[in-house]
């Protein structure tokens, strides 16, 4: 729901672009007079692969996103609207090569960015695992709503407890001592992974002023060319200096030895 709502609301004068699976919403419009393409993966009960009907990133979604990115209008920047509960878990998906579908999306995003197209992401719901890796993480600028419904992680919470054979309480306790395992916006922002966080009273019904603030932030970021930054540049942020110090140190020592 959140993905479709924000894909609809964010751009001015937006119209749907056709030719994509129904689970991939693609809309072309403007912000402050400049062209944008918004892309969201949304639930679709009629999706032909049953394991990808609840908004998961499945076979069709990966190539749908890849195509939407690759074939975006030449002057458009891309806004990836992120609300993905994870990738599709299925036998057919693995046999057919779901990892290739995700890689196609990643390749399209990286390729466009390296050719100079600006990429922005707005996390409006769940940003989980391979789905987020394939849709959102390659953007030069990433914003998120400041809301309890936002979740950034590599696995759904219930699965973490099952995999690690621990209780929900234990998983929650670890998240307080190892921030990398937390799921909330504020903790993810600590790593320098987010460029902006937006207050929204109701993410399902954003007010005009709230949408305007997001637009203004994206417009500023675009004018500053932030949408072409590579993921590694996030390590330069003050937050990363403080909370990804180990990654920075490892990189420094690799350089020393190289």
């Amino acid at each position: 729901m959140r993905g479709a709502i924000w894909a609809r609301a964010l751009l001015e004068g937006a119209r749907a672009a056709g030719g994509f699976p129904e689970s991939v919403v693609v809309r072309d419009g403007t912000i402050a007079g400049q062209a944008y393409r918004a892309i969201a993966v949304v639930p679709h009960s009629g999706a032909r692969f049953p394991r990808a009907r609840a908004g998961e990133f499945g076979l069709d979604e990966g190539i749908g996103v890849a195509e939407a990115v690759r074939d975006a209008p030449p002057d458009a920047a891309i806004v990836s609207i992120v609300d993905v509960p994870g990738q599709a878990f299925g036998r057919r998906e693995e046999a057919a090569g779901l990892h290739l579908s995700l890689a196609a999306a990643v390749e399209a995003y990286i390729g466009e960015r390296r050719r100079g197209r600006q990429l922005f992401s707005l996390i409006v719901g769940k940003a989980i695992s391979g789905a987020f890796l394939a849709h959102g993480m390659q953007s030069g600028w990433i914003g998120a709503l400041d809301d309890g419904g936002i979740e950034v992680h590599v696995m759904p919470a219930a699965s973490v407890a099952r995999v690690t054979r621990s209780s929900d309480d234990e998983v929650a306790r670890i998240a307080t001592v190892v921030p990398a395992t937390a799921r909330d916006v504020a903790t993810f922002a600590r790593f320098g992974a987010l460029d902006a966080v937006f207050d929204v009273a109701d993410p399902l019904a954003p007010a005009a002023g709230e949408i305007e603030r997001v637009r203004t932030a994206i417009d500023r970021a675009r004018r500053a060319q932030l949408g072409t930054r590579a993921p590694v540049e996030r390590l330069q942020s003050p937050a990363a200096h403080a909370h990804r110090a180990l990654a920075r140190e490892v990189r420094r020592r690799v350089d020393q030895a190289w």
């Binding site: 693995e94 090569g97 196609a104 990643v106 890796l133 993480m137 990398a180 395992t181 990804r244 990189r251």
Partner: protein, 253 residues
Amino acid sequence: MTPTALRRSYVESTPRERIAALADPGSFREILDPFARCSSPYLAEQGVVAQRDDGVVVGRALLGGRDVAAVAVDGRFLGGSIGEIGGAKIARVLERARDGAFLLLDTGGIRLQEANLGLLAIAEICDAIVALRERAPVVAVVAGRVGCYGGMSVAAALCSQIIMSPVGRFGLNGPEVVEQEAGIEELDARDRPAIWQATGGVRRVEQGHADVLVEDDLDELARALRDAFRASPNRERLSLERLRNRFAQEAPR
């Protein structure tokens, strides 16, 4: 006639032995080796004993005279998972590499115990692979017991060439994860023959997901690796047209 040399198994070798056997003899120089004492500070709290190389071996080597980055993920440590340190090691050597890189991937993907730090690192690794492959070969080898899964399967799919052995498996979600998330009626993780048939090296090469199939033999792999460096990059693997056709065949009727 010389007697037939004993096969040296890739599966039975350690990550360092693998790199040493595949690179030009004596050329591998490890960076941040176990004596550098660079181990994860996040594991003790979660009841896991850290490893002094964080389960990732990286360095600089020669391959057929080329100055390349070498990476080997240790599948024996936490399923070959990628955390903050291992991820940063891989990303940085890929960024520094001059004439290409080879990655020996025996990995379940992102390390659950360092979740979002692993995720951030893999996004950097994907970008570094695409940047490097524009000017030099980046070759992945998937021939270990763990296989190549999760975020690292996405990274591997971006490589110029992929070499597999029949032992290797290549997919996004491991069978245990699929069974757990979707139920045993979707997939029975104990049905090993079915799993290898669908996602093992033989099948993946047949499907064109990987490029070369070799036996579990280090000498054969060393030759295949040099050939892969000379081969032109596979640009068909992620062709949307091709993927679309393949997925259509897989769709339930």
